[in-house]
Subunit: 174 residues, 2 copies
DNA sequence: CCTTTCATGTAATGGGTTACATGATTCG
DNA sequence: CGAATCATGTAACCCATTACATGAAAGG
């Protein structure tokens, strides 16, 4: 959330919208998580808000990061990495693919492949919008980081699709 | 857990050990999750156990899947895929890399790269143990599925390492 | 006028991790 | 004889999702 607000001040509602795309490719949060968290961040002095006029029944609050919040974000980015546990239900299924009939196996792989192809297309479309944008070449600009992470998404999804194509060949004939 | 037990009957303790490697590459569970879950699976008739002599202060129980359990596993493998939300803290950090000093940025990327290189090496080592194993070529054998998922791990980690190398070049000079 | 979007919150539930708890056997 | 491994459980806590709850403005 600090990363989002550092790019552009937003209301809680906007944050939940923004979580769907770009950032949403690798992190998400529902609004029921966002509002309490904004309150906690504000209590910690990392964000502040001003009231703006809006459509809801309650006051619309636009949040932005404070100097302390930006320092916190920077510290987190540069901090030690902890090993992250991988949890991939699709690969877990493929790990038990030996238990099912050949046709069911091929069908599973085809469906998994389809999902990755869709994601790949979405990444490529997002990446295309940054094509020729001057800021995307400047390392101190958020657009640069967007371009870089999307590039990573494209590359790894492509690798996965190629792997699944290879797997389909392994499962062929049968 | 059904997938693990379908390959080989195990005690709860062994399951938690086995979660560390092979399967652990894409799914993990602590023993505090495993024991209650085994009880639930047994109540549902998907696994059973017999007592064997062991070292602990309580009775050692060796679990194996029932016919119903295997059917359940097969049904799950072939079932509809739900879109899985991606949560990647490393990419999330990289998405905020524009906020930090050039040297901190390069350092972060180098450390992320190191972690992936390590994982890649582990996958390749695991894959090497299946080299020349006859069962790994047979689509109805667990070794086949192990080989296939490891191959996927190798391919996608390689893509990520290549991406990070590309990123380091983008961050060079500066 | 009805549906969608904007807008913000709370409550209940579920899954997972960490901490608490116990104790026998084996190896150095 | 002390540490590591084998072995199984419960309790507390945290994070995240789903469901509950409200209501104004804008567009078709």
């Amino acid at each position: 959330m600090l990363g989002l607000l550092a790019r552009r001040p937003s209301t809680g509602y906007e944050l939940s919208r923004r979580m769907e795309r770009p950032v949403g490719w690798f992190w998400t949060a529902g609004h029921s998580q966002i509002y309490p968290e904004l309150a906690r961040l504000e209590a910690a002095g990392l964000v502040t808000h001003e009231d703006v006029e809006g459509a809801g029944p309650r006051q619309t609050k636009r949040y932005h990061v404070t100097a302390a919040g930006l320092a916190d974000l920077r510290a987190w980015v540069a901090a030690e990495l902890e090993p992250q546990p991988v949890r991939d239900l699709e690969v877990l299924r493929l790990w038990s693919i030996w238990t099912v009939e050949p046709e069911a196996a091929r069908d599973l792989v085809r469906r998994v492949r389809e999902g990755h192809v869709e994601r790949l297309a979405a990444y490529e479309a997002d990446l295309a919008t940054l094509d020729g944008v001057a800021e995307a070449a400047d390392r101190t600009r958020p657009e640069f980081a967007s371009r870089v992470t999307l590039e990573g998404g494209v590359r790894s999804r492509r690798a996965v699709v190629e792997w699944l194509d290879w797997l389909l060949e392994e499962l062929a004939d049968g």
